[in-house]
Every structure is written in structure tokens, then in C-alpha cells.
């Protein structure tokens, strides 16, 4: 598995906390493993948009990775509601349905970025660093310089 320099929160040096939202347990597990290779911590998971909103309120993550096609409430609407209540929320849409219309809709509703499935770790890593901006700091990869 590729090594990534861990991305920490610049304010306290703690791991970035993620909320992973996808109706597929398989997809959530894989994304969870991926963000752990970035030095992140999976603070919560949700399988639909309604649960995602409640989980966001409860755990206040640094980043939400949000699928689009889900039961009960789709990801774009959930992202919009989260951002309405928490304007600083960093929501990254992660979906296989990556056509122009969906991407524009998601960004207009307040999502910060869009990553197409299947997710490439190096792509998601760069997006995380970009979305964290000054609030995140990338350290040295394990084994780097050895």
C-alpha cells in the first residue's frame, strides 16, 4: 500500500476526523482504510443522508466524504442541509455518477470537491489536502528519508 505523509489538523496536530457516508458497507470500509493511510481517523459512518446529518451534528468531523445515490435522502441534499447549518463544513462528494450536471449541482449546494469512483488514493489524498487548506498540515511519510 502506498505511503502518504499524514495530514493532521494544524490547530492541534490531531488526526483529521472523517464522517464517511455511503449506502454500501463495502465502499465505507474501503474509504475508511484509505483515509487511515492518510493518517486520518474515521469518527463516524452513515448509510443515508438523514443519518449523515445527525452524525455530523453529533461528531462535528473535519471532513465528510459523501456518496450521492443513497436511500432516504440523497447525498447532494444532505450536503446542502449540512452546509446550511454548518457553513464551514467541508463536504467532498464521492460518487460513481460523475457527470457534469451532478458535479455542478453538488458544488452549488456547498460541496467543496468531487471525487469520482473508483477512488484512487492519490487523488483523494490531494483533494483532502486541498480542502483542508491552512487547517491541515502534511507531515512526513512513514519511512521517508530512510
Amino acid at each position: 500500500m502506498e505511503q502518504f505523509a499524514p495530514v493532521k489538523r494544524s490547530k492541534d496536530g490531531q488526526p483529521v476526523r472523517y464522517l464517511i457516508v455511503d449506502d454500501s458497507v463495502f465502499a465505507r470500509k474501503n474509504l475508511g482504510k484509505m483515509v487511515e493511510t492518510f493518517g486520518g481517523h474515521v469518527a463516524g459512518e452513515a448509510g443515508d443522508g438523514v443519518t449523515a446529518i445527525a452524525e455530523y451534528d453529533r461528531i462535528q468531523p473535519d471532513i465528510v466524504l459523501m456518496d450521492i445515490t443513497m436511500p432516504l435522502m440523497e447525498g447532494i441534499e444532505a450536503a446542502e442541509r449540512i452546509v446550511q447549518q454548518h457553513p464551514d463544513a467541508r463536504v467532498v462528494m464521492v460518487s460513481s455518477v460523475g457527470y457534469q450536471e451532478n458535479i455542478v449541482a453538488a458544488l452549488q449546494k456547498g460541496a467543496r470537491h468531487f471525487v469520482q469512483k473508483p477512488v484512487k488514493a492519490e487523488v483523494l489524498y490531494e483533494v483532502i489536502k486541498y480542502v483542508m487548506g491552512d487547517e491541515g498540515i502534511a507531515g512526513q511519510a512513514a519511512g521517508a528519508g530512510a
Binding site: 500500500m1 463495502f26 460513481s96 457527470y99 457534469q100 450536471e101 469520482q116 469512483k117
Partner: protein, 162 residues
């Protein structure tokens, strides 16, 4: 059955499965069917509605599903039945989502419905009066069958007739 709708699904299957399984993927067999469908193993059915109507079924034997789930999860352990079934649905989602992006960029608008899981031996028969293209992809982890039955939707046909 509209053959011009098939190519984006073949490209998408290659784009999703080959890097995930880290092996080349080849089309081992291609046939046309006009019969009701019964799952052979772990099958995920995804329906489309709108400018394009129909459905796509991914069907893998349980051992292949388990191997592919492990590969995608980056694990050496065999995946449980539940995880293998989840993996087949998620892979169907990813392949179809990628194909849909291509078709949407070509001007087709439609809705993708969440995958439905069907298992062999449960007596499920998917009946329809339409032709399907059946593609069998060969991978190092086993064969993946993709059964595609798609046609232009009523809205598209009406617009073309104007």
C-alpha cells in the same frame, strides 16, 4: 436493443475492474439472449429510467465474488458472503455510474436506481420482452458476466419523432 448504448458499459467495466483487480480484462464471450433471467451466482441488477430504459445485471459465481471483494478491499483473507454481495452491488454501481457519466455527456438524461441483489437458488426470475447482450469478462479472479438490456426511453423516442 440499441448496440450503440453498449460500448460505454464495456469501457466502464474495463476502467473499474482492470485497475481494481490489477490484471488485464478480456471479453471471453458475447451473446444475445431473449429469455427470462435467473441469477447464476451473486447478481446485482441496476435499473435505468428516462431517456434510456432498461437494466444491467452483474452476475458472478460466489467464489469469484469473494475473491474480487478481497482484491478490491486490499485483503488476502477471503471475503464473507455478506461482504462479497456488497462488493458486487458496489462494483455494479461504479461501472454503471461511469458509463452513465459518458452517456450523460452525450445528452442522455436518466435516473440510475439503487442496485438490487439477487442470489442463485432463490427462485428469482427476471422476465422481460427485450433482447439482452451478455458479455463475459475474463479476469484473474474469475469471470464476470454483464447482461445488458437497454433501449431508448419514451421521452427520447418522442423527441426524435418531432
Amino acid at each position: 436493443m440499441k448496440m450503440d448504448l453498449i460500448q460505454p458499459f464495456i469501457n466502464a467495466a474495463d476502467a473499474v475492474l482492470a485497475p481494481g483487480l490489477q490484471c488485464p480484462m478480456t471479453i471471453a464471450n458475447l451473446s444475445m439472449e431473449r429469455e427470462s433471467y435467473s441469477p447464476h451466482g451473486v447478481a446485482a441488477l441496476v435499473a435505468l429510467s428516462g431517456d434510456i430504459e432498461g437494466r444491467i445485471i452483474f452476475d458472478l459465481d460466489p467464489n469469484t465474488a469473494s475473491r474480487i471483494a478481497s482484491k478490491f478491499a486490499g485483503s488476502d483473507e477471503p471475503a464473507s458472503d455478506a461482504l462479497a454481495q456488497e462488493a458486487v452491488c458496489e462494483l455494479a454501481n461504479q461501472v454503471i455510474g461511469n458509463a452513465v457519466a459518458t452517456l450523460n455527456d452525450q445528452g442522455f438524461n436518466f435516473r440510475v436506481h439503487p442496485p438490487q441483489l439477487h442470489l442463485a437458488g432463490q427462485g428469482t426470475r427476471i422476465t422481460e420482452d427485450t433482447e439482452a447482450v451478455v458479455l463475459c469478462f475474463e479476469t484473474d479472479s474469475g469471470n464476470v458476466s454483464m447482461n445488458i438490456a437497454l433501449d431508448y426511453g419514451a421521452t427520447r423516442v418522442a423527441a426524435a419523432g418531432q
